[in-house]
């Protein structure tokens, strides 16, 4: 058995085990783990399997299981097409499992910092997965885009968490929910957290990364872009929803972003031709529903959002897998290249019909109830939102019909489809079948969503769904949505031109363009700075001392200087010190004037040895010893290097005169940074040293440690662990230098 197949088996086993463990844990009433992590920061490894964790974790594991099975058949074909080794699939399966683990950690984490760690872990795993075809530049750029958009926005999440920590002194979410009161801090933190969540869920205006991410192999899209990566965003919104609900403006903003995403995603899905691209736009639109419902909030919003995620994730991953199977069978990637596959691939057609019907909210599917709850929440919020909800649902109906009918109905196109493995078909049927079962026996799904809604709402929530054969508003809205969808579908030839216009506009001035411009600008700025720095050796030195001097000057300017910078009397006992410092200054002045290399080294050593003398005079013999050693090393090293350099080069460099702007620039930099250094040293020495209890304790403990020299005792005993780490670094450096230089000489 090859490496790829073994990895696939391991991944499938892991997902199945996770699913069983979650089911067992949840039926046993959940559970929690709480272990100290970094006690000084009051961080805890706090995990809890609550309703929300059960919903999202269960989805990640269940969809993961089916997608991993699908991938075990898909990946060998994918790699064969590209002429790559089948063993490479192991990398994909590994990253998928990493994603599953990150997702489980994310949904169960009760500490926000912990949550952030897993949040970033999902971003890293998604980068590995989207860029799986690494020989393909497009895939690499798409992976980078997904990483940057979700990773940079994750910084907003971290800042939001730290704002909460600064205000309330904890990052433990249940505690925060207890003590956080409506106010500026909660609003700001909530907004920052929401930005990260919206970027992760590919909501407007961060939506552009998701269609690009379709460069990933299909199993990755089926997993990340239905049940995991994008779901993580709305999960976070659900997790912190009780906090967000404390500022109504935030909820309104979420509602607006959600509805905008419904519209943008839906319209682009109507226009898209690529199978996966259409589904990606559909995902943007569908998570727009969820965000809108979270924005509506309250019991109805929370219940609707949780149920929607459940119904959508199951169906959407089935549709992604359908797209992959169709492409494998026909070689076509776009709607324009396929058609009439229904009779030739009946099983796939049936499975994906159930899934598409669920998203389009047909009766007798789980999806019907998701729209029922959606309409109910929208009605509670007002007429305008209700109208927009119907329009959005109509759009969904239209593009889902376009997707399924375009593939399976109409004229047969693209020749006879090739036979595909059964594992590329039956996972679709299982997920589609789940949607149909859910349309009949809804209570297990409704219970799972209700338990999640209780957490989301931060208060008890009811979730009751059933078929009602009467003229209630939800039913009428559903009918209106079907009618809108049918009308959109019928008139899509008329719509083609405006939709193409929308697509062009969003390419031309959309946020993706801003992303490109920002990235190129950053690249250019970085290049320019780099060239400035590496132009010559003096520029490199200036690149260190100029920013350093500026920072120090800033600190000096901001520090109160009362009592500092006073010139006092010099006691007679300090005469040796003054002499040593004067020698030091003279030697430093000499460095700037001598020209020969050897003389320069000797002058520099003079500075160092005079400083060492100073150290010994002020009662720091250990420091003085180290200073002497360092000076000796440098002097010898310089001499050794001069011995290695060609004589002519040395003579030429002595003869060369500094010219042009450098004649002014270098002295200005040198004098300026020297002045700042003088200022800060003078200022620091004007202050009495603060008493250090640690140092005092260490002095007192030296006897107990059988020592007499506190410095050595600290190095070898009190802070022995640090020393050990340092000498390990020395050892690693030795190995590195040896490896590098021996490789250069060609000997080993």
């Amino acid at each position: 058995m090859g490496l790829g197949r073994r990895a696939a088996t391991a991944a499938i086993t892991t997902a199945a085990g996770t699913l069983l463990a979650l089911a067992w844990g949840w039926s046993a009433g959940g559970g929690a783990v709480d272990v100290a992590w970094a006690p000084t920061w009051d961080l805890r490894l706090a995990f809890e399997l609550d309703g929300l964790a059960a919903l999202y974790g269960g989805l990640a594991a269940a969809v993961g299981l089916l997608v991993f099975i699908y991938a075990s058949a898909y990946m060998p074909r994918h790699l064969d097409h590209q002429g790559r080794s089948r063993d490479e699939a192991a990398r994909l399966h590994g990253a998928m499992v990493l994603f599953l683990v990150a997702m489980l950690g994310l949904v169960t984490a009760q500490d926000l910092i912990l949550l952030f760690v897993f949040w970033d872990l999902t971003a890293v795993a998604s980068w590995l997965l989207i860029g799986f075809d690494r020989q393909d530049r497009g895939a690499r750029l798409s992976a980078l885009m997904a990483l940057l958009v979700t990773g940079v926005s994750a910084v907003a999440l971290l800042v939001g968490i730290l704002v909460l920590r600064a205000e309330y002194g904890t990052t433990n979410l249940p505690e925060l929910l207890e003590i956080a009161r409506p106010g500026a801090a909660v609003t700001v933190a909530g907004a920052l957290i929401a930005v990260a969540a919206l970027a992760k869920s590919a909501q407007v205006p961060f939506h552009f990364w998701l269609p690009r991410a379709m460069a990933a192999p299909t199993p990755v899209s089926a997993y990340l872009h239905s049940a995991a990566m994008v779901a993580a965003g709305v999960f976070l919104l659900s997790r912190v929803h009780p906090l967000l609900a404390r500022s109504p403006e935030l909820l309104d903003a979420l509602l607006v972003v959600g509805l905008a995403s419904v519209a943008v995603g839906g319209l682009l899905a109507m226009a898209a031709d690529g199978l996966k691209r259409l589904l990606a736009y559909s995902t943007i639109s569908q998570y727009g529903y969820v965000v809108a419902m979270l924005g509506i909030g309250g019991e109805a919003g929370a219940a609707g959002a949780c149920f929607y995620v459940l119904a959508h994730a199951l169906a959407k991953s089935a549709l992604f897998m359908t797209a992959g199977t169709v492409t494998e069978a026909t070689g076509q990637r776009g709607l324009s290249g396929v058609g009439g596959l229904g009779r030739r691939m009946p099983l796939l057609a049936a499975g994906s019909a159930a899934a598409a019907a669920a998203i389009a909210a047909f009766p007798a599917t789980l999806g019907f109830f998701k729209d029922e709850l959606y309409f109910k929440a929208a009605l509670e919020h007002g007429d305008l939102v209700a109208v927009l909800a119907v329009a959005g649902a109509g759009l969904t109906f239209a593009y889902m019909a376009r997707f399924w009918c375009g593939i399976f109905l109409g004229q047969a196109r693209g020749g006879e489809p090739a036979a595909v493995e059964r594992r590329l078909v039956w996972p679709v049927c299982v997920l589609g079948g789940l949607g149909v079962i859910g349309g009949v026996i809804v209570s297990p799904f409704a219970d799972l969503a209700r338990d999640a809604a209780v957490v989301t709402n931060g208060a008890p929530a009811e979730l009751s769904v059933a078929y009602h054969l009467d003229a209630r508003a939800e039913n009428l809205m559903a009918l209106a949505a079907y009618a809108t969808g049918a009308a959109l579908l019928a008139g899509r030839r008329l719509l083609a031109a405006p939709l193409a216009f929308v697509e062009r506009i969003s390419d031309r001035v959309g946020p993706e363009r801003a992303y490109g411009v920002a990235l190129r600008g950053l690249n250019r700025a970085s290049d320019r700075l780099h060239q400035l720095e590496v132009r010559d050796l003096r520029a490199r030195v200036a690149a260190v001392i100029v920013p350093g001097a500026l920072l120090v000057a800033l600190a000096v300017a901001l520090t109160p200087t009362a009592g500092a910078y006073v010139v006092g009397a010099v006691p007679a006992a300090d005469t040796p010190l003054v002499v040593a410092l004067a020698v030091c200054a003279l030697a430093a002045a000499a460095v700037t004037t001598v020209r020969g290399h050897l003389a320069l080294v000797l002058a520099l050593s003079g500075v160092g040895f005079a400083l060492a003398t100073t150290y010994s005079l002020v009662g720091a013999p250990d420091v003085a010893l180290v200073a002497v050693l360092i000076e000796t090393i440098f002097a010898l090293l310089f001499v050794g290097v001069f011995a290695l350099l060609p004589r002519d080069a040395l003579r030429a460099s002595v003869a060369r005169r500094t010219t042009g702007s450098k004649r002014v620039r270098d002295p200005v930099i040198a004098v300026g940074s020297g002045l700042v250094t003088t200022l800060v040293v003078w200022g620091a020495l004007s202050r009495p040293l603060p008493a250090e209890p640690t140092a005092q304790r260490q002095f007192e403990a030296v006897d107990a440690a059988h020592g007499k020299d506190v410095v050595t005792v600290i190095l070898a005993d009190f802070r022995g662990l640090d020393t050990l780490v340092e000498i390990t670094v020395v050892a690693v450096a030795m190995l590195a230098v040896t490896a590098l230089l021996r490789a250069r000489t060609g000997r080993w």
């Binding site: 010898l636 050794g640 290695l644 350099l645 004589r647 059988h706 410095v711 005993d717 050990l724 230098v737």
Partner: protein, 145 residues
């Protein structure tokens, strides 16, 4: 070309340098200096030989090839001092003998775990420094000035 006087003085300086290093190491626990300083001093003595006499002479006269072994031995001593107390049920790097107990004396040198650790540091610094000096000094063929 390095003068005869420089070569003689350099060669004569090696033994005293090593002696000073040993003294700094042994006395380190009671006086100025420690394993790091001692290792550096010893390595300086060797570096002087390289600069004044050239690599061929040094490699012929001193066991340079063993320097990496010395470094790794030093690291192993450090890790052992870290790990042994843990095996005995104590904290990592725990002091032996415990505070208050009298250590074993060799002359005026106290044999304690921290001193052994310092010897490990000395060995590592000397070994690593000499190894690096040697690979830097070994220029690739055809690069003679």
């Amino acid at each position: 070309m390095v003068s005869v006087l420089t070569r003689m003085v350099s060669r004569a300086l090696l033994a005293p340098t090593l002696m000073v290093a040993a003294a700094v190491l042994v006395k380190g626990y009671a006086d100025v200096g420690d394993g790091f300083a001692a290792g550096t001093i010893a390595a300086l003595g060797v570096l002087l030989q390289y600069v004044a006499l050239g690599r061929e002479h040094v490699v012929a006269a001193l066991p340079i090839a063993r320097a990496p072994v010395l470094a790794m031995a030093g690291l192993s001593v450090g890790v052992a001092i870290l790990a042994l107390p843990v095996l005995a049920g104590g904290a990592p790097l725990e002091h032996w003998p415990p505070s208050g107990d009298d250590p074993v004396y060799v002359g005026s040198v106290e044999l304690i775990s921290a001193f052994a650790f310092d010897v490990g540091v000395f060995a590592l610094v000397l070994g690593a420094a000499v190894t690096i000096i040697d690979v830097v000094a070994a220029r690739p063929a055809g690069e003679h000035p």
